[in-house]
């Protein structure tokens, strides 16, 4: 056996012996060379766009075909740089796909926060569903490999873009790298204030509500510097900020809006306060000192957390409570960009961002319900984990802004909680909170190692020497007693019939016939099924302090070089 193939070996030199065999087998099976080559090309292309197929099982995701649609879906990211860069990016994407999806989600999310990138941009350039994307990034909702590949491709590309923007800026070159944006969003993404800038502005606002042009310009500088620092780049490389570059006009608008906001709040405060609650006076006192700070905190926090606080009498009770948000550090507040547009109850439309930043500045104890932002889930995001905490109750309540940054699990502080419960009935506002803790069901996405378990079946009948057993028995006449397996003996052409009289030791065939399962031999091993799953579930409940990604994650600093 084992036909001579020395001649064959000399032929194709670049193939391994097995590859040769396989190709040969294919050719021998009737496949023509052209067909084979064509098929290979097709398959290769399919594989490339499908991303890392081999991750399928490992992810433990539900059944997934190779490509969603047979022709690979468009990524909307077709514009590539020269081949080496494209190849490099693709390689990086593949590598990222091997990593843990949740870790990747965290990384991408924090990158987006750091650079203040809108989700919309991702959605537009990847074709992903925005809700799905948001859930994946914030809550870890599973995302299939192909889609993750799209996401990571965008990420890798974006990083390259931004790095280029920054480096070009340092050389005084303006790069026209807006490929993705052009068609869709006109030119640039909408400007968004970063937390660092906001902090600076709020502080300035406290000092003076109406800064002069020079002062505004100074603030522009300051803010841009802070934003660059947040992104880990030198403050002089402004181009990297892209659409989020702070300009004098924007600063002007910001102040104008804040002034209007305040005026509006004032107006609301004067409205009929029908919160029958406790002394409005308490509330008033609160207005003075904590409120500015609160305001700042609130706006930052609320914008990011999207929490709702209806200004009502209840708030004052929580004097102590109110103090807590004060401890907020801006860097930690932008944890979650969930941001629901609240429905305002009142008459005239409040100024631009009032609805978001307003709340609680509950200094407005008298505050009317008018402001209730209805049905906002209170999202407590901890650095790297998102928790939805809320109360389900039909009673209108206030949601205190609580941010338990340093800690893990964020819960409503008991005090305020009870307060709400007690004071609720009066509120005409109905707020619905979804209380659902992120189910750990999606934890099913945790990687499950493929378990290769070879069961040792019927080992009793077999020994490792089984393999060397020979098959015997020609006809039933020669059946001897079935004994233990013996060594190999292949009955050659010598007439078996001749042996019919001699008892031939029966071999394993008997057993073999009864057990169709793979024969286990010494060479198989039981693969241990142990798999320490990452503590993904833990991130839901508690975010280990070390894990929280601050706004300026130290490890990010170097990436923007």
């Amino acid at each position: 056996p084992g036909g001579g193939e020395s001649n064959r070996r000399e032929r194709s030199s670049r193939l391994s012996a097995l590859q040769e065999q396989l190709v040969w087998s294919l050719l021998g099976s009737g496949l023509s060379k052209e067909l084979l080559i064509q098929a290979m090309g097709d398959l290769e292309r399919e594989r490339a766009s499908a991303g890392a197929e081999k991750m399928d099982r490992a992810d433990g995701e539900s059944s997934e075909e190779g490509d969603m649609d047979n022709p690979p879906p468009i990524f909307h990211e077709l514009e590539r740089l020269p081949p080496e860069e494209a190849a490099r990016q693709r390689a990086e994407v593949d590598q990222l796909l091997q990593e843990d999806p949740w870790h990747m989600a965290k990384m991408i999310k924090s990158y987006m926060q750091q650079h203040n990138l809108p989700q919309r941009e991702v959605v537009e350039s990847t074709g992903l569903n925005q809700s799905h994307l948001s859930q994946h990034l914030n809550k870890g909702t599973p995302m299939k490999n192909q889609k993750r590949a799209a996401l990571y491709s965008w990420y890798v590309k974006k990083k390259a873009e931004i790095n280029q923007q920054f480096t070009n800026a340092s050389r005084g070159v303006v790069s026209g790298e807006e490929s993705g944006d052009d068609v869709r969003k006109g030119r640039r993404n909408r400007f968004k204030w970063g937390p660092a800038s906001q902090q600076i502005l709020f502080q300035a606002y406290e000092r003076q509500k109406n800064p002069s042009k020079e002062e505004r310009e100074g603030l522009v500088e300051e803010c841009n510097r802070a934003e660059c620092l947040q992104r880990g780049v030198s403050p002089s490389q402004l181009a990297g900020l892209g659409s989020n570059l702070v300009t004098e006009v924007r600063v002007y608008n910001w102040f104008a809006n804040r002034r209007k906001e305040e005026a509006f709040r004032h107006k609301l405060a004067l409205d009929v306060p029908y919160s029958s609650q406790s002394a409005p006076s308490t509330g008033q006192t609160l207005t003075s000192s904590p409120s500015p700070v609160l305001k700042y905190n609130q706006s930052v926090v609320c914008e990011s957390l999207g929490t709702v606080r209806s200004s009502s009498g209840e708030d004052q009770g929580g004097g102590g409570r109110l103090a807590s948000p004060v401890q907020l550090e801006p860097s930690h507040t932008l944890l979650d960009t969930h941001h629901h547009k609240p429905a305002s109850g009142g008459g005239s439309l409040p100024p631009v961002s009032t609805l978001t930043s307003l709340h609680g500045v509950s200094g407005s104890s008298a505050a009317p319900p008018g402001l209730i932002m209805a049905s906002l889930p209170s999202v407590m995001s901890l650095g790297d984990s998102s928790l939805f905490i809320g109360l389900t109750s039909s009673q209108p309540q206030t949601v205190p802004v609580i941010n338990n940054i340093g800690g893990g699990f964020t819960t409503l502080q008991p005090i305020s909680f009870q307060q709400q419960l007690h004071t609720s009935p009066q509120q005409p506002i109905t707020q619905q909170f979804q209380s659902h803790i992120c189910p750990s069901s999606f934890m099913a996405t945790m990687a499950q190692l493929p378990c290769h378990m070879y069961s040792k079946a019927d080992l009793s009948s077999y020994t490792s020497s089984l393999l060397s057993q020979a098959m015997v028995i020609a006809d039933s006449n020669s059946i001897g007693t079935l004994t233990n397996l013996t060594s190999v003996r292949q009955i050659l052409t010598s007439d078996p019939e001749g042996h019919s009289d001699t008892p031939i030791e029966e071999e394993s065939l008997h057993l073999q016939s009864t057990s169709p399962e793979p024969v286990s031999s010494g060479s198989l091993e039981l693969y241990p099924q142990t798999h320490t799953s990452e503590t993904h579930s833990s991130h839901l409940l508690s975010s280990p302090p070390g894990d929280i990604d601050p706004y300026m994650p130290t490890q990010m600093v170097s990436t923007a070089q």
Partner: protein
């Protein structure tokens, strides 16, 4: 529906198989043979050829492989014994093994 090989045919075919070193399995209507190759590559090449053919015929062997050894048992499930397909495949297997 595949039919078992006629007994008369069997009487004629079996010796042929035996000559080719296919032996009958005790207690079951099947034939068996062991193959030994030089190394794993050869072995798996052989198995690939057999596999492709099996797919084509829609008739698959029971086999076991360890490194350079392959043990093959052929039988037809739906008729509970040997059928023409087994013979055909056996022939092919033999051819493939000497390639």
């Amino acid at each position: 529906m595949t039919k078992k090989i006629f007994l008369s045919h069997l009487e004629h075919l079996l010796p042929m198989m035996r000559n080719a070193q296919w032996v009958e399995v005790v207690g079951r209507d099947a034939i068996y043979k062991e193959f030994l190759f030089k190394d794993f590559n050869q072995t798996f090449g052989f198995m690939s050829r057999v596999a492709l053919q099996a797919e084509k015929m829609d008739h698959h062997p029971e086999w076991f492989n360890v490194y350079n050894k392959v043990q093959i048992t052929l039988s037809t499930h739906e008729c509970g014994g040997l059928s023409q397909r087994d013979i055909t495949l056996a022939t092919f297997i033999d051819q493939a093994s000497v390639l």
